[in-house]
């Protein structure tokens, strides 16, 4: 056995806990989880059945933690997990799983399959079987500060432009303020208006805030690849910066898995609760709306639908704010057939969008057909969402199928129609 495989198996042994043991023991092989997975529904390939994606982890569980499994292993009846097997599973654990969490919602015996995939990735990452695209993104985040290799001077440039455009001051490294604002590289590069929009909203609401030159990046490729040590290092930058600046809250950007990383995984990665609260930008906006601070001057006339990012809604628990806010700013909202916590993934979450192998991209386009169908059922050409990664994936899908759909970020939409 290679050293890296041994490390991988050890990592798997370490992540197996009572929930995982209970889940594997309960599975009756009914296959209903397949019906909840867009990689299965759009391809019809049984290999994409969520519980099947966990097969090597299940064997390690049985061989290491059950009496019969240990006996079978000793008698040579249960084959050990090999490097070749893990390598062939990489497609199932990364390319065809976005950790969207839909399967966990339908399993009749209650298995949280997504929880297990996340843990399984720990073993895949240390044994060297994660996709190169996510490895690169993680490396760049650890070494250069963000998955896109974006440096602080570039961010400063964006800040300067947004200050000029909005005519508002954007504070940096200011201690003792209400909010430390995080962003994702993708937003900084592709949707820098987000920053100007926030400046506008904060100024209207009289909330003090700051950016940090030490922690701007909110995304965490470490949790996507499944390497807790790297994830911890990335999240600790934010925690250190926030605690040094003594901010009351850290504001997570729209980006779905950034929210997951800092709000839900963060304290567990650090092994302690934070000295500040983590708030999703839409939670804050909804609070401002309910206080009457967030008033709209007009509404978008075009009918719109909403794509709910999995990590914010289903896995993140920001269930009501997005829809409430959207209704403030549009004339007509047509929800998708499966919406809110039942929404279907864009197909690019959980690190999948960082995988650039042609097969993975082709698979993503196939999976996108689910969103295409949902979108067509609503009969509208404008889709609002609130996650930069969803947005990129959706845009790629829309281009690929040459659809006539316009995408809008919810925060920007709100900022655009905000009362002056």
């Amino acid at each position: 056995m290679t050293a890296s495989l041994q490390k991988g198996i050890n990592a798997l042994k370490e992540v197996i806990d009572a929930p995982i043991a209970s889940f594997f023991s309960s599975c009756v092989h009914c296959g209903l989880c397949a019906e909840a997975c867009l990689f299965y529904t759009e391809t019809g390939d049984p290999r994409y059945t969520p519980i099947h994606k966990l097969e090597p982890l299940k064997r390690v569980y049985k061989q290491e933690y059950t009496l019969l499994g240990r006996l079978a292993k000793m008698a040579g009846l249960s084959k050990p997990v090999t490097d070749e097997e893990l390598e062939s599973w990489s497609e199932l654990v990364y390319d065809s799983c976005t950790m969207c969490g839909r399967c966990s919602m339908v399993c009749p015996v209650g298995n949280d399959l997504t929880y297990m995939i996340r843990k399984f990735r720990e073993g895949m990452a240390v044994s060297g079987h994660a996709p190169q695209g996510i490895i690169n993104a993680t490396k760049r985040t650890v070494e250069e500060g963000g998955p896109m290799g974006l440096k602080w001077p570039a961010v400063q440039n964006v800040i300067k432009h947004q200050q000029e455009d909005s005519g508002l001051y954007i504070p940096v490294d200011q201690a003792g303020v209400d909010y430390l604002v995080l962003m994702s590289s993708m937003e900084i590069v592709n949707y820098p208006e987000y920053l100007g929009s926030l400046a506008k909203i904060f100024s209207k609401a009289g909330i003090t805030w700051t950016l940090s030159s030490e922690a701007i990046e909110a995304t965490n490729a470490g949790i996507q690849i499944g390497a807790s040590d790297l994830a911890r290092e990335i999240v600790s930058r934010i925690v250190n910066a926030a605690e040094k600046l003594r901010v009351k809250n850290v504001l997570s950007p729209e980006c779905g898995h950034a929210y997951m990383a800092i709000r839900w995984e963060g304290p567990n990665l650090m092994g302690r609760p934070f000295k500040f609260e983590v708030v999703h930008v839409l939670e804050l906006l909804d609070e401002l709306r309910s206080k009457g601070v967030l008033k709209m001057k007009d509404k978008l006339k075009t009918p719109v639908t909403l794509h709910d990012p999995c990590q914010i809604v289903r896995r993140g628990g920001v269930l009501n704010a997005p829809e409430t806010l959207l209704k403030e700013v549009v004339v007509e909202f047509r929800p998708m057939t499966d919406s809110n916590k039942w929404n279907w993934c864009c197909g690019g979450g959980g690190g999948a969008s960082a995988i650039h192998e042609p097969e993975a991209e082709e698979l993503r386009f196939k999976a996108f057909k689910r969103k295409k169908t949902q979108l067509e059922e609503t009969g509208v050409n404008t889709m609002v969402t609130f996650c930069a990664n969803c947005r990129i994936t959706l845009e790629e899908g829309i281009d690929h199928y040459e659809m006539n759909t316009q995408l809008i970020g919810l925060t920007e939409l709100l900022a655009e129609h905000l009362e002056d």
Partner: protein
């Protein structure tokens, strides 16, 4: 061994062995599973109505959104055979008498004709479920020897019980002995096969509901 001796054995020694293995096996498995424990969640929980492990234990008994439409045989067949098993096991007069003689507790039974019908419907539903397992690519793909064994171990007690009551195929004494034997096999296998879901699904649903519940999502 003649049929009387066979019946006597399954009712005494056989039953004792089966019950012993079942109880010890279950205890072992439950300890093996739940003593693994889990790390404390450090993230401050969000609370929401209906979002907890306890809610999910019950809620997950109903088909989630869109699932009945995509997998009608799994749900309808599944409901029928699970409820059917429950009715046949707990409401046949002979079963209640057996419990009464062992534990001294009893409850009203259902008429024999009703149980007969339920048994036949249950058997039919189980055959349908098996056909679905073989027919549906996903189910066939996932299926192992253990799945077919578990099906057989569940099917046989209902079948032999029905045939014994109806005095069909084999003499009553022999069929009754086979019925009891098949139940004993089921008991012994239960802790070590997927049949353990009868117990562990409570834990699994609770964990699932708890994990999402802490984030404020009812699942």
């Amino acid at each position: 061994m003649n049929e009387i001796q066979f019946l006597t054995w399954v009712r005494s020694t056989g039953l004792n062995i089966a019950l012993g293995l079942f109880v010890l096996g279950m205890l072992w498995r439950l300890i093996e599973i739940y003593s693994l424990g889990r790390k404390q969640d450090m993230a401050p929980a969000r609370s929401a109505a209906g979002a907890s492990g306890w809610h999910t234990i019950f809620r997950r008994s109903l088909p989630p959104q869109g699932m009945m439409k995509s997998s009608p045989i799994s749900y309808i067949g599944g409901y029928i055979f699970h409820v059917g098993l429950f009715v046949v096991v707990f409401f046949l007069a002979q079963h209640i008498k057996l419990v009464d003689s062992l534990l001294g507790i009893s409850w009203p039974n259902l008429p024999a004709q009703v149980i007969d019908t339920v048994a036949v419907v249950t058997l039919a539903a189980m055959v349908l479920i098996l056909a679905d397992r073989i027919n549906k690519p996903v189910k066939r793909f996932l299926s192992t020897f253990g799945d077919y064994l578990a099906w057989l171990l569940t099917f046989l007690p209902v079948l032999t019980g029905y045939l014994a009551v109806k005095h069909m195929v084999l003499p009553y004494t022999t069929m009754l002995a086979l019925h009891i034997l098949s139940v004993e096999l089921l008991l012994v296998a239960l802790p070590f096969t997927k049949l353990i879901h009868v117990f562990t699904l409570i834990g699994s649903r609770w964990y699932n509901g708890d994990i999402s519940g802490k984030r404020g999502v009812p699942v």
